[in-house]
Symmetry: C2
Subunit: 356 residues, 2 copies
């Protein structure tokens, strides 16, 4: 117990941050029947994952999880700073995974084409469309291409990563519109069934929304999709918003920075609109779907709820839940065996379901 | 905050129980790098599940989770009392699901044959072998047939539920021996590939151990298996032993009653033996496997770790993680839509993979 005695400031610091922050809106529900009272705990890093993943799991809470800029300019400065740090690691990853990056413009929408040095025969006439994460506000330009690079390199696919417009300047539906523009353009490059769509977090939400929008607009659907830890429900429903609060070191808690960013995207629109919270959409006729999440993920529930909805609609859907991982652990370090395994698993799923 | 102020005894009661109980052996690891400090929390019942499931999720901690009888007689009395309560609900469930129960003896091993009123054509020449849960000590006689009744009724399968011998009188390998005796007998009734094996918790561990043992003994393997929330690792490894401690209202915490019962079963044998902790076994060549767990399950990690091992071995494996559910929520109330859905999902998986 020495550790406790020696650093009360840290423990109380976190507790105070939570109170100041108005930690999950549970006050009203506190006396409700069935409420579980969970004592304070110290959760060690598991030894059931790779050393690289232990480092990711053991990292401190994201320094910006509850930092909320007040003006557009402050938001842009924070986004730019995060993007700059992200971009720094990309050239080495592209070199290691032998992936080439080219900026392109597709019918007026900015994007990046990621091309692996070797494209297996079965993938020559296939194309992936990637939509990056970042809670609909982060990940501009090259900084949003990390996951796209991994699926290009580990999976052997050409990937078109959409550099969609974002708030504060461009709220909904700019991102979805841009993603649909690229999807439609992709459908002129290869047959629709040969296209896979992949994205995580906000990109997972967008991946699902793209299919809902394609259904609404009677467009051909992709052959398969891979939404990772999707922001499928912006309303705050989902049990892991509570069970994994302060356990997930990336998003940390519902109502924090990520949800504020999502609200900037929603721009006053009903959060239950399926194009914002796709778990409320009609998933009948969806293409085969592979979902990834982690046991510590704040969006664990909203990933498994999508899985259930898909299965209820009779859709072929595969779920992977990664040991110990918080939000999106598998795409944080390409050298982690968990990254390679996960992207290879996604690639196998695409290979099984995409047209050739 | 009124609720907190008004019932400190409950909160402190739990905290004290944990301290008295020597709550997870984490003291040594508390100051280790990466340890997450999670403040005390109140977790409401989610509204993203059915009313029946809300009741299961909101139930108080299992009254026996940290009750540890001291003698064989005391254990037997506790087991008998729990069994008596469980048996009381079974006739109504059998009537509702139109399932007939018959005690049988298979090569000297006690078992029950569960037969649904209607067996679909494709299941006429198929048979499931069921191994019940109860941490290797609970669930004797008819009391262990609940899950078997649900898969028989919802899935339309004949099910042979093994009433295997248990501690305190019969430690390892009695349970496994009995289960293997029934599996071998079943292989004389229908072709081996037409047999599915299903079981949850200790039964999930046994299901996996049975396949490992069949491989060791060069017996034919079942056509598919359905281990639910398997006790796949008795050593205490698995991150959700920490993250879901006190969140799961069934097992509650590692090292409590369930693990003491498992230790009685192990009887001094190395807990890392794959026949006790099958996550350490060689899963190459395993039959297609469907795994179920819940987001609040103390064994969430040890279910997803088995999923990963199976996929690494190239085995077809499907994972289902149920929103808000603690250990085995889907087989606690046959009237919950989550029960019907889950057993129908398992039945579909068996139908896809079993011989006819």
């Amino acid at each position: 117990m020495a550790a406790v005695t020696n650093k009360p400031s840290l423990i109380y610091g976190i507790a105070c941050a939570l109170i100041a922050f108005n930690f999950p809106p549970l006050a009203a529900a506190q006396s409700a029947a069935g409420t579980r009272e969970v004592p304070a705990r110290k959760i060690p890093v598991p030894d059931t994952v790779s050393p690289q993943m232990q480092k990711i799991i053991g990292a401190p809470l994201s320094p910006t999880w509850n930092v909320l800029p007040k003006t557009s300019e402050e938001w842009k400065a924070q986004v730019a700073k995060t993007a700059e740090a992200a971009v720094r690691g990309l050239p080495a990853m592209r070199e290691a995974l032998k992936v080439k990056l080219e900026p392109v413009t597709i019918d007026g929408v900015k994007a990046y084409m990621l091309t692996p040095a070797v494209i297996p025969a079965q993938n020559q006439n296939r194309l992936l469309v990637h939509v990056h994460g970042g809670c609909y506000v982060n990940g501009p330009g090259e900084s949003g291409t990390s996951e796209a690079t991994m699926i290009a390199g580990f999976g052997g696919f050409k990937v078109l990563s959409v550099d969609y417009r974002m708030p504060p300047d461009h709220p909904y539906p700019a991102a979805l519109d841009d993603a649909m523009t690229v999807l439609k353009a992709a459908q002129k490059m290869v047959p629709a069934k040969n296209i896979g769509v992949i994205g995580s977090s906000a990109g997972g939400g967008l991946t699902l929304s793209m299919v809902l929008k394609a259904k609404m607009d009677k467009l051909p659907l992709p052959g398969a999709i891979a939404p990772g830890t999707p922001m499928s429900d912006l309303t705050g429903a989902g049990d892991s918003f509570n069970t994994n609060a302060m356990v997930d070191n990336v998003l940390v808690a519902y109502g924090a920075s990520c949800d504020v960013r999502a609200a900037m995207y929603a721009n006053g629109r009903d959060l239950k609109d399926p194009l914002l919270s796709p778990v409320y959409g009609d998933m009948s006729g969806f293409p085969p779907t592979i979902l990834n999440t982690g046991t510590r993920d704040l969006l664990l529930s909203n990933t498994v709820r999508v899985h259930r909805k898909l299965r209820q609609a009779g859709v072929e859907a595969a779920l992977y839940v990664h040991e110990g991982q918080a939000h999106g652990g598998w795409y944080r370090d390409y050298t982690a065996p968990e990254a390679k395994e996960t992207f290879e698993e996604i690639a196998k799923f695409f290979d099984k379901h995409l047209g050739k």
